[in-house]
Homo-oligomer: 427 residues x 2
Amino acid sequence: MIPYKQMTAEELLTEKNRLDEAYQEFKGQGLKLDMSRGKPSPEQLDLSMGMLDVLTSSDVLKCEDGLDARNYGLLDGIPEAKELYAEILGVRTDEVIIGGNSSLNMMYDTITRAMMFGFYDSPRPWKDERKVKCLCPAPGYDRHFAISELFGIEMINIPMSPQGPDMDLVEKLAAEDESIKFIWCVPMYSNPQGITYSDETVRRFARMKTAAPDFKIIWDNAYCVHHLTQTPDQLLSLMDECKKIGTESRVFIFASMSKISFPGAGIAAMAATKENLSFLKKQMSIQTIGFDKIKQLRHVKFFHNAQGVYEHMQKHRKVLEPKFQMVLSVLEREIKPLEIAEWHAPNGGYFISLDTMDGCAKRVVALCREAGVVMTEAGATYPYGKDPHDSNIRIAPTYPSVSELEQAMELFCLCIRLASLEKLLLG
Amino acid sequence: MIPYKQMTAEELLTEKNRLDEAYQEFKGQGLKLDMSRGKPSPEQLDLSMGMLDVLTSSDVLKCEDGLDARNYGLLDGIPEAKELYAEILGVRTDEVIIGGNSSLNMMYDTITRAMMFGFYDSPRPWKDERKVKCLCPAPGYDRHFAISELFGIEMINIPMSPQGPDMDLVEKLAAEDESIKFIWCVPMYSNPQGITYSDETVRRFARMKTAAPDFKIIWDNAYCVHHLTQTPDQLLSLMDECKKIGTESRVFIFASMSKISFPGAGIAAMAATKENLSFLKKQMSIQTIGFDKIKQLRHVKFFHNAQGVYEHMQKHRKVLEPKFQMVLSVLEREIKPLEIAEWHAPNGGYFISLDTMDGCAKRVVALCREAGVVMTEAGATYPYGKDPHDSNIRIAPTYPSVSELEQAMELFCLCIRLASLEKLLLG
């Protein structure tokens, strides 16, 4: 195998004809695989089934502080759940709110409240600003971008490097434009690249000047305990760094148990300063009397503490690591020598993201779909669904079995090769 | 006992001195009782403990349609939960969304979305209207009013009669003022009076002309199955009545299991036309991937169907009926002959509401608190916390035991008498 770019036109054509045939064969197999969303596999869900047994009708459902978890009360969560999440997120217990089942919903609510009422340090509700913009490290999480788009918040792309977002650009834009109100971040094992922000990146987030007095960092720490290798990444605490210089009011941290216990049946959490939370709680107390405390108690009884969560995540790792290795080894074998795509081998998270040659991603995803393998829509990892280079594809290896994954990856690599050949031949 | 208004000043004074002494004795007892919120008692919560046993680690958590309830998916709820609630609410399955744990949160979200985006039949988002107003049958539910107030929506009081809201006034205002966008209703066993809207009231809601093209009826059917006597009220189906004349786009029905299974750990539901729901779901799909389907399944496995819910509510009735009877019998004995207050004996719901003589409610509640019994704040049942007559008090008899309730009611009646005597003596 030699790099495609070193091949003559004739060689490229021969290669293409050969692969076209292989592709037609794949189509004949009638594959039906979905690698589009970051869903845990049934085997992973089985890991948490014991949670269904930890509370029974013969248990007393009292919280640590004596409150009956079965009745109304406690807007911000039961004390033991707040303690558990405080430890995981590296914040104080009084900086945590335990919410419903979805951190996405908590982020949506946070932006909604900002639009309607602003934050405690906002000059006015964001809906009354002439313009609201946000910074979007990209490729990023499509559901973040969808929230911004729904509220008409203008999104600005920030390129990603292996250290995190391009901080030169983040600092420059945030300092000069007061309509830039926040930034979406997945700081650990980022979606989709699996990049963890470097210590220097975190420190620059803490230090940076912002023209907006109410600038917020939406720190979606979705994969904070989702390690996949023996050499896990380390993320510096943004809250601690900000506290050192008094910028902690910009920090809003989110996380959930959806990929720890059960998607949609886990518990979600957010963390921010007491000042931020006390302002929010006034509005939250109008929105709801409180979230599901029995489910909170069930999680605490099952995991006991943060250490219990870390140990549980090792079981997930056992299921997931071979899948990620399969994806990476097929890419290594089939694509690397051809020099037609690049990727990062992540130490955790839920995705592997691959960059094709410019202008090939849509074509690769279309070829895959035609042969029965659904990938995340090309472009979805960028604001407005527009990948400026049409090169990024998100691979979600968690749901299929290892053998399904092998099949799907064989096809995927074939499609990358075909799309690249088309590009090189047609220019 | 003769009516106070027939007493001479001297007789009133003698009575007051006698009761002052009794009041001081009560204060000496160091009572500590809370009749302020509609909380189920521990005995009621025990009724649903079996729900903790219906799903265990050895169960397969598949929905009716084969979907794994443990994983992501199904924005609007599992089919069997939708069927259950469709039957309870008298609507079609495709007119139901099963939400999180709180119908209050679903109502809040509905108003928030209306503010940000409007409904599908709105000329523009409500935030872009010059003015938004709502109609508030009062006395009513304080948390409804709090939502309106938070969003700066102007509230207009609508007096209540034993047939429901004053429909002459509702019809007149809704027809002439296009800034009136919605009305808050608790149509069955209303909070706080326990009144069920008459058939004619429901029909007038269906029929009435509205100046706003996107006028909505927030039909908070919180107590739809919460019967307390052998002669339960019947509520005509608003959806059916509206469909007869094509006004069904105004109907938004809400309910929850919080006072059926566990407060905060139940499931909530809303119902509206398919057109309304499909518009909402577009926004909901940005807000969340879905709600807790394991909890939905747990509820269906425990109740089986609507009939199972009705039977379960009979168990609640067994606990609650003696408490309501206690409240009513003490009022009957201690207050009725004196002609200083009025109330309605409800066939269901969670409250009894009492109207003192004008200008006495705050004083009664203050006297109670001073002697150790916390009642709902006087005025709370009116928009902006302002009872124009200072006469309405909400009694929540569900949480205390029957014997505690007897003590609390003795004190409460004493305080009504004292406040009335003060009023009559000082004018």
